[in-house]
């Protein structure tokens, strides 16, 4: 027989100001189930909790109802309280008489009547609640980090230093991500690669880190502590175990004009290549779309056929001949492996928005109208020009340069509604770099607002304006016109003085927006995490859970969660690592007991429950010669779809059983 104790909270005046709490306590006290009922000013205060704890002992209570704020607020508090006083922590229920009564009801008599009824229902419900134990799940103490950019590298290193194994998955041939493409970094102007490559090397040499380059995540099964991640390596045709990274193959490759992704399409590379000199791993990769030996054997789409148009079709094989290690394998079919992992860190970064939609700026059409990333490559010593800042069109030094801000950012009509956050700073940096390359030249920045939060950021902007005489013009650029003389006229407006301005420039740099990777959505679905309207991954709580996702065991780091600069990305990498290490610090994982269970004596084995289970947590099982359904508690997330689908109620969802819902809904 249930002996329910009911505790009505005044919440100061929040509840008591509207609800006659004494009356509620008095009337509820008459319920047959209720053995004790009282009210108090602040139940969540320590005297309030003591009141509960003492009453449990004094009145031999075995079920508790706290009528106060939303259970989302204080249920855990009171669970701990009653646990301390020896009751199972799940033998409690909260009546939400603040958010859902006193705060939303105008008339105080109505509020009181409603409160009485809300408490009555919880008292009825709690009498049908069962003691529950958390589900213990073993933890596979290996982390999979998806994305080898600076954020992913940071996460991997921190986890590895914490003594846990890491599998670092990178889609491209090398670690490094966007940062590897950068020349120098704001606001310190220290060399990007100089600070990144050591970390890449450290990751490569770390005993706890395994790198999987050219690899993507194909499938994710399992659940926190026990994920099964299926990795797919695309065919590279170079056996990483044999390759000694001598680079001879690259020098011998006859196909010399493959657009170079690493140089943002500015330079050319071979059909077999390492993306850049400091690549980690330094294993070259054959690009099957261009390799003479392989292109025929592939079903090509017409487009890539065009790319190959003028290349002499021959049975090549140069790299294979020259390779001293016999590492070339044209028949490479790629590989698939499934790894077990307890946690997943998603650090897939961002991509630079193509300015092609901005035809008025000639983005992607005019040779000397570049994107931010292209400019980085152009001034980089490892870039296509070896660090000489010249115009792609005629190789001349640009005497005048215009930087156009917010191309694709803060522009719902053509681009994205959000601010890409980093453009203001990297544009200022570009302007400075330009001045360092062309001291005599003039740089203009057309901006809407200059946003420079962050340590020493504003000073950095001032430095550009004051020391290097970079002209900042406030106004959105309307048009970039290519002139007959090969120069570019930029039409804009100076909104501060309110008159139209036009600048003749030799080069225009568009600060293209940061946007989610094109495959962000599909990866999200593979991982079972959610993403926002812009396509960035959603954190569990914008303030309190910045690197968690709604899916336990999957964490976020870097720009895949939203535009970020390097410091923020690194911070998140470390934060995610900390979360992973915290998780791995436990021997087993305590999971909410809110899981489904099958009464095999009532189960017909139709497996309807299994069909509706989003987590494949329900399996078949033989019991007494009958095929019945069986819930894998570790996998079950407690949504209750199965409980709702089972026609003869053989499936019960703990904490939301039919019994409990029934008692709560009955009038």
């Amino acid at each position: 027989m249930a002996r329910v104790g009911v505790f009505i909270c005044h919440c100061g005046v929040n509840i008591a100001g509207k609800v006659d709490v004494a009356r509620v306590a008095e009337i509820i006290g008459r319920m047959p189930e209720v053995a004790f009922s009282t009210d108090y000013k602040f139940m969540c205060s320590s005297p309030g909790q003591k009141l509960v704890a003492d009453a449990v002992k004094e009145h031999g209570l075995n079920r508790i109802v706290v009528a106060a704020c939303s259970p989302k607020m204080h249920l855990p508090t009171f669970q701990k309280t009653i646990a301390k006083s020896g009751l199972n922590q799940y033998l409690i229920s909260m009546a939400n008489i603040r958010e859902q009564c006193s705060w939303v009801t105008l008339d105080s008599d109505e509020a009181t009547e409603k409160a009485i009824d809300l408490v009555r229902r919880q008292a009825k419900r709690v009498a049908h609640q069962d003691p529950l134990e958390d589900v213990a799940v073993a933890i596979e103490k290996t982390a999979v980090v998806i994305g080898g950019g600076v954020s992913g590298i940071q996460a991997a290193l921190d986890i590895a230093d914490g003594g846990r194994k890491v599998i670092l998955v990178e889609k491209s041939p090398s670690l490094g991500g966007k940062m590897a493409q950068l020349d120098e970094t704001f606001p310190t102007l220290d060399c990007s690669q100089c600070i990144l490559t050591p970390k890449m090397v450290e990751a490569a040499q770390h005993p706890n880190i395994e790198i999987r380059a050219n690899t993507t995540v194909k499938k994710v099964g399992g659940y926190v502590g026990n994920f099964e991640v299926t990795l797919e390596r695309r065919p590279t045709c170079v056996d990483a175990t044999r390759c000694i990274a001598c680079g001879l193959c690259v020098t011998k490759c006859p196909v010399r004009d493959v657009p170079d992704e690493f140089n943002a399409g500015l330079g050319k590379r071979r059909a077999i290549a390492t993306p850049f000199p400091q690549a980690v791993p330094a294993i070259p990769v054959i690009d099957r779309r261009y390799c003479l030996r392989l292109k025929d054997s592939l079903g090509h789409d017409p487009k890539s056929q065009e790319d190959l148009g003028h290349v002499p079709r021959a049975k090549c094989g140069a790299c294979e001949k020259i390779c001293p290690a016999g590492a070339i394998n044209y028949d490479d079919k790629g590989a698939e492996e499934t790894v077990k992992a307890g946690a997943i860190v998603v650090a897939t970064g961002y991509q630079e928005m193509s300015p092609a939609v901005y035809t008025e700026y000639g983005g992607a059409t005019y040779p000397d109208v570049l994107t931010g990333l292209q400019f980085e490559r152009l001034v980089s010593s490892t870039g296509p020009t070896g660090g000489h800042l010249v115009r792609p069109s005629d190789g001349k030094e640009p005497q005048t340069i215009v930087f156009v801000q917010c191309v694709g950012s803060r522009d719902p009509s053509k681009g994205h509604e959000y601010c890409s956050g980093i453009c203001c700073m990297y544009t200022a940096k570009h302007a400075l770099l330009y001045k360092h390359h062309v001291p005599s030249g003039q740089a203009y920045v057309c901006y809407i607002d200059v946003r420079s939060p962050g340590k020493n950021y504003e000073q950095f902007i001032r430095r550009a304006i004051e020391e290097e005489d970079v002209r900042y013009i406030r106004g959105r650029v309307g048009k970039v016109q290519r002139r007959a003389d090969g120069r570019y006229r930029v039409f804009t407006e100076d909104t501060l003085v309110g008159r139209p301005v036009s600048i003749d420039a030799d080069m225009v740099v568009l600060a293209s927006a940061v946007e989610p990777q094109s495959d962000a959505a599909s990866l999200a679905q593979t991982l079972g995490i959610s993403y926002d309207a812009d396509g960035f991954y959603t954190e569990a709580h914008p303030k309190l859970k910045p690197v968690e996702t709604a899916t336990a065991g999957v964490f976020l780091a870097g720009a895949c969660q939203g535009p970020k600069d390097i410091p923020a990305s690194v911070q998140q990498g470390s934060a995610a690592a900390a979360k992973v290490l915290a998780l791995f610090a436990n021997e087993t994982l305590r999971k909410s007991p809110q899981v489904a269970q099958v009464d095999s004596s009532a189960c017909t084995g139709c497996l309807t429950c299994a069909y509706v289970c989003h987590y494949s947590a329900i399996e078949e099982k033989q019991v007494a010669g009958r095929q019945v359904a069986f819930v894998v508690a570790g996998k079950c997330q407690g949504c209750g779809a199965c409980a709702a689908a089972c026609k003869n109620k053989a499936v019960t969802l703990a904490q939301f059983s039919d019994d409990e819902v029934f008692e709560e809904m009955m009038r």
């Binding site: 008459r30 319920m31 047959p32 009464d599 004596s601 009532a602 009955m666 009038r667």
Partner: protein
């Protein structure tokens, strides 16, 4: 008590029924859609009586499908009060012998022990049964194989039969006598026509022979096509199984009995989940044996009255009489084998 018959002229039937209805609730057969059912007689409605069974047994008049037996209310102190017993006098007219036999059997079930069913008792006490002799036997009728006859009067307070120009009535008990005092009834020497009724079409082995067939695989085969739908049990005038449930209004509510059926899988399911009658065969056997064997052992009277309602209602037109006959064959075979 006069043993003689009284004649009611057909044209006076309405008036006579009105007289009966004046004193008490009067229930008579009424055609509803394709079949006959019992209905409360309303003054002045013209009424006819079917010559053979009323498809829907009068069982529900004595043993309703839903019977509140107690009310409970936790306000202040828990209180549980039994329901008021019905006492308004009632006449049920036009029950045929097989249906009345059903009531006789129910008497043994509900009243034949130390703790009689008060509700049933009350229904019985307030009721006077004016039975009706059958003028025909339907293909499904087999009362004559069940020690019963279309002319059987046992259990009736009065009986009537179709006759030349009207109906012949005859009182069988004092209760019945009281109802036949009407001036519309004239003493007569006429006798209801008697007929020789067919017999022995569907004889069933005796209780003990049947028990010998308990483990016979006959049941398995017989159950092949049985849906165990329970329609037969609800139609049967002697199926009296019920379940007890509390129907709540908040914490207030009433405890009710509701018809149940041994043909349902849930009927014999135990709390543990174990079910001694999981198979159709087990359930079919239970019902058959209850009609032809257990009833004899427990109540000294077979509980199949040969009304054939089970045949009429069965979705697959399964014929229990035939089943019985098959059992007979099987019993004979068995005997032959033994000797």
């Amino acid at each position: 008590m006069s043993a003689g018959w009284k004649l009611l002229r057909r044209e006076d039937l309405g008036a006579f029924l009105d007289e009966l209805a004046a004193g008490s609730e009067l229930w008579v057969p009424r055609r509803k859609g394709t079949r006959w059912d019992f209905d409360r007689y309303e003054k002045g409605t013209d009424t006819t009586f079917p010559g053979s069974i009323v498809e829907v047994s009068a069982k529900a008049l004595f043993f309703p499908r839903r019977r509140p037996i107690a009310r409970f209310n936790p306000k202040a102190k828990w209180s549980v009060e039994p329901v008021e017993l019905p006492s308004a006098p009632r006449i049920v007219m036009g029950m045929h012998p097989c249906d009345v036999a059903g009531v006789r059997y129910m008497d043994r079930v509900f009243l034949g022990n130390d703790h009689p069913d008060r509700l049933y008792e009350a229904e019985r006490n307030r009721t006077t049964i004016i039975g009706m002799r059958c003028s025909e036997m339907k293909p499904t009728c087999h009362c004559t194989d069940r020690n019963l006859s279309p002319d059987e009067t046992e259990g009736m307070d009065a009986v009537f039969a179709e006759a030349e120009g009207g109906y012949l009535f005859r009182a069988l008990t004092n209760k019945g006598e009281k109802l036949l005092g009407s001036s519309l009834l004239a003493a007569t020497d006429a006798q209801p026509a008697t007929r020789e009724w067919p017999k022995g079409r569907h004889l069933v082995p005796g209780p003990d022979e049947l028990m010998d067939l308990y483990d016979d695989d006959f049941w398995l085969e017989a159950s092949d096509i049985c849906l165990t739908c329970g329609a037969c049990t609800f139609a049967c005038p002697t199926c009296t199984c019920y379940l007890v449930a509390d129907e709540k209004f908040g914490d207030e509510g009433e405890r009710v009995t509701a018809w149940d059926s041994c043909q349902f899988l849930s009927y014999s399911r135990e709390t543990s989940g174990h079910n001694p009658r999981r198979t159709n065969a087990a359930r079919l056997r239970n019902r058959t044996l209850d009609k032809f064997a257990y009833s004899f052992h427990k109540r000294g009277m077979g509980s199949c009255t040969g009304c054939g309602r089970c045949v009429l209602i069965c979705p697959i037109r399964r014929s229990f009489p035939q089943l019985g006959a098959k059992l007979k064959e099987r019993a004979e075979e068995k005997k032959a084998r033994v000797s």
